[in-house]
């Protein structure tokens, strides 16, 4: 079993704001992250897959293909976007880093070949804050 990681990045605006709550409650829970006019981040995304290398190529998976899948299914939809209002797979969800990582996992899984297992989505919101999601 080998693990292979591809690193991508995207820049986006968001806010942490629960529309079911009052403005006061949002500010009490989310602080400055609830700013109605948004703020933003440089996100760093680590996608890790696992499996056995193909005996003919020595590859777990063609990393160029992995990069294209991540770009088409994730980066195109997130980069230079407003996560709260422009991303179909986040509609109706809170735009936390946790939910974003889960959403990215769900975007990628259907596009990976059956013999490749997605192992981990690691998503940095800032250099000092990141989440990991292992699909369970």
């Amino acid at each position: 079993m080998v693990y292979l990681t591809r690193l991508e990045h995207f820049n986006a605006a968001h806010k942490l704001y629960n529309p079911g709550w009052s403005k006061e409650k949002n500010e009490a829970v989310f602080g400055k992250c609830a700013n109605e006019n948004w703020h933003g981040h440089n996100y760093e995304l680590y996608v890790t897959i696992k499996g056995d290398p193909d005996p003919d190529t020595g590859f777990l998976f063609d990393v160029k293909k992995l990069s294209d899948i991540i770009k088409d299914q994730v980066i195109e939809k997130l980069d230079h976007r407003n996560l709260n209002i422009e991303v179909d797979f986040l509609e109706g969800k809170m735009c936390s880093t946790e939910n974003l990582a889960i959403g990215i996992w769900q975007q990628l899984v259907p596009h990976l070949p059956a013999e490749i297992q997605l192992h981990c989505i690691k998503l940095y919101e800032t250099p000092r804050i990141y989440v990991e999601y292992f699909g369970n």
């Binding site: 820049n11 605006a13 700013n35 948004w38 933003g40 981040h41 440089n42 230079h80 976007r81 800032t126």
Partner: protein, 141 residues
């Protein structure tokens, strides 16, 4: 070792997260989109900005300091972080009402804000990272 009149540069690193949109109000949306591409998205995007403030001068013979770093930290927090962190640079600050919030302009605004609070005999330069690979310095040597 004689330290008289020898200049030293001290640096303070800070960061803030903000949303912005590159937009020239003198142009229509089409031209903004042509020139600035996805950076002009009307719904904004955002960055983790890294700011490095450089202060150069001769260390004070009494303290050994070019500048008290605690004071530099406080000034930077008051003038930059409180105004820019978790803000929309276009909408939530007074500085970019008529000024496009490019990294160049943000660095120039930050310089002016800090310059007014730092001893004129000390030199000041700011370096601003918009991403890890895009950064600007002002003033340029």
């Amino acid at each position: 070792m004689s330290t008289r009149e020898k200049k030293v540069a001290v640096f303070r690193k800070e960061h803030f997260n903000a949303a912005h949109r590159i937009f020239n109000p003198a142009w229509d949306d089409k031209k903004n989109a042509e020139v600035f591409g996805k950076c002009s998205n009307p719904h904004y995007h955002g960055h983790n900005y890294e700011l490095i403030v450089k202060v150069t001068g001769v260390p004070d013979p009494q303290t050994g300091y070019v500048m008290d770093m605690k004071q530099l930290s406080r000034i930077t927090a008051e003038e930059v972080l409180e105004k820019f962190d978790h803000r929309n640079l276009n909408l939530d600050t007074v500085y970019f009402k008529d000024l496009n919030p490019t990294a160049e302009h943000i660095a120039m605004v930050i310089y002016d804000l800090l310059r007014a609070r730092i001893d004129p005999k000390l030199e000041l330069q700011v370096r601003l990272y918009e991403t890890e690979r895009n950064f600007v310095e002002y003033p340029a040597e």
